[in-house]
Subunit: 302 residues, 2 copies
């Protein structure tokens, strides 16, 4: 009864006004209280990574199509993709579009692909801006933004549009592994101090189809990516609220990023799923943040 437990928690969140339902599953408005928790999580993430002296960049929720193509996301997660299409026609084509709309038919036939797609991961738009040589010792960026995954679900932790906060390291192979390992530790520590029962596990991403089963097996064998999981919708099947991932040269190669001595850069990132952390806190401590334990409140709102 996994779906049942998730849907029941969703109903609680909607009744309490923390989320506002829309007609699409996995798409919600957020209340002031929900956003105050999100802001607290964001502040905590900033404090926890202050030693990086990271360069801050905030990207919008759409990214260049050519960037998306080079991330290879379409190979692994075509079903989660959001491609953006727009109208480039004349008055006559517009009349036809409106005729289709008014007839309740599919009005998207006259549309063309735009130069942009929805952002697949908060760090994807960063890589092309880092093309060329990195400084000695590599570099760390702090990125934050809305991502899209087309996975309509009644599980409130499976939103179609959600925010990721990331620290992205670009540099040599050892630095990339160290960044991931350090953030698995920091992440477990941070989330534990928020009173969440967490565990770090090897990631198990939902790669698509037949080829995806091999990619998923590879991912597990190579142990490049870890997730920090905690119960949200139900106790038996915990949900990832953070992840730490070493990409090796997966981005350095296609985006032409080089270390100071001219080698292909390796990259790694840690991601905070701020909506999921917010939901985990609401699940663990109840729907009224004013009544949460003092140490949790102090951690979020010092």
């Amino acid at each position: 009864m996994i779906a049942g437990a998730a849907a029941a928690f969703r109903d609680e969140l909607l009744s309490a006004g923390l989320l506002v339902a829309t007609s699409v599953d996995g798409l919600y408005g957020r209340s002031a209280t929900f956003e105050a928790i999100v802001d607290g999580v964001e502040r905590l993430a900033t404090a926890a990574g202050a030693d990086h002296d990271a360069t801050v960049v905030r990207f919008p929720p759409v990214i260049p199509r050519t960037v998306f193509e080079r991330t290879d996301y379409l190979r692994s997660f075509p079903d989660l993709t959001g491609s953006i299409h727009t109208f480039r026609g004349d008055d006559k084509a517009h009349a036809e579009l409106l005729r289709l709309l008014d007839a309740g038919e599919d009005w998207t036939a006259p549309l063309d692909p735009a130069e942009v797609v929805l952002c697949s991961a908060a760090c994807h738009p960063l890589y092309p801006t880092c093309a060329g040589r990195l400084p000695d010792g590599g570099r760390v960026y702090d990125v934050y933004g809305y991502c899209f995954r087309h996975e309509p679900s009644l599980d409130p932790a499976r939103m179609q549009a959600f925010r990721q906060r990331e620290y992205v390291y670009l540099g040599d192979p050892d630095g990339a592994e160290a960044h991931r390992d350090e953030w698995v530790k920091r992440g477990v520590d941070l989330m534990s101090r928020l009173g969440l029962a967490v565990e770090a596990v090897v990631a198990n991403d939902p790669f698509f189809g037949r080829v995806g089963r091999m990619l998923a097996a590879n991912q597990r064998e190579e142990t490049l990516k870890y997730e920090i999981v905690t119960p949200i919708a139900n106790d038996d099947r915990p949900t990832a609220i953070m992840s730490a991932n070493c990409h090796r040269d997966h981005f350095g190669l296609p985006f032409g990023i080089e270390t100071a001595d001219g080698a292909v850069a390796h990259t790694a990132c840690v991601g905070f799923g701020v909506e999921r952390i917010t939901l985990a806190l609401l699940r663990a401590h109840g729907l009224e943040p004013a009544r949460w334990p003092a140490e949790v409140r102090h951690g979020l709102w010092p």
Copy 2:
């Protein structure tokens, strides 16, 4: 030489690192400094509307397709639309998609329209959540979020993805007009106190095509919408940085929103274009906020 002046200002912003270029015109990363100004504008908007005791809702950058259809946006601005398409096929269709991608062809042919489209205006996702009876005296909401307009441009004030902060009134016709009129005054006052040379003018939206020319003429005649404009890219042709709009029953009718006594609700909104206000401040006071006039700094970061 309007385009030239806009492109020159864009180059200055990029050189100063305030915006980060992408391969798509009108799509930028934002620096920490840029975001600090955005946050200041947001804070100012919050303070200026505190008397509304508004209900806060934050919607994600995608909205239900059915909501978008009911806003009638496709009639007026089809060319600015962002429809989202995704992959629902099997392994075989996925192989074909990847073949198209690898061949450098259009890989979107196998995609289907998703249940969502890009958000066209920050207040659009709000209306369906207000279906039914409003309380006596109507209600004011505070919404904020990313919007999309497909208009690739070298003018930095013409971004494809940008944020709108809005106060939306829902109630009776007099209340809607009063909300608009009050916010034209408050907007001019607020922006003037930030040292911007502003003016309130009747709006002149870029309605599409032949029908659009009539809609634009109607809009000007009926004087339902005002814009607060100031020079950003060039002095001759000022840019709208805020707008205040009375929609009459344009949203109340299709979304089934009623006043306390059962009449179709009228609505009005004021929108703060936070990126445009940020750009106007950078243009007026220079690219280093630390050196801005003390009263402007105090207004943004009290």
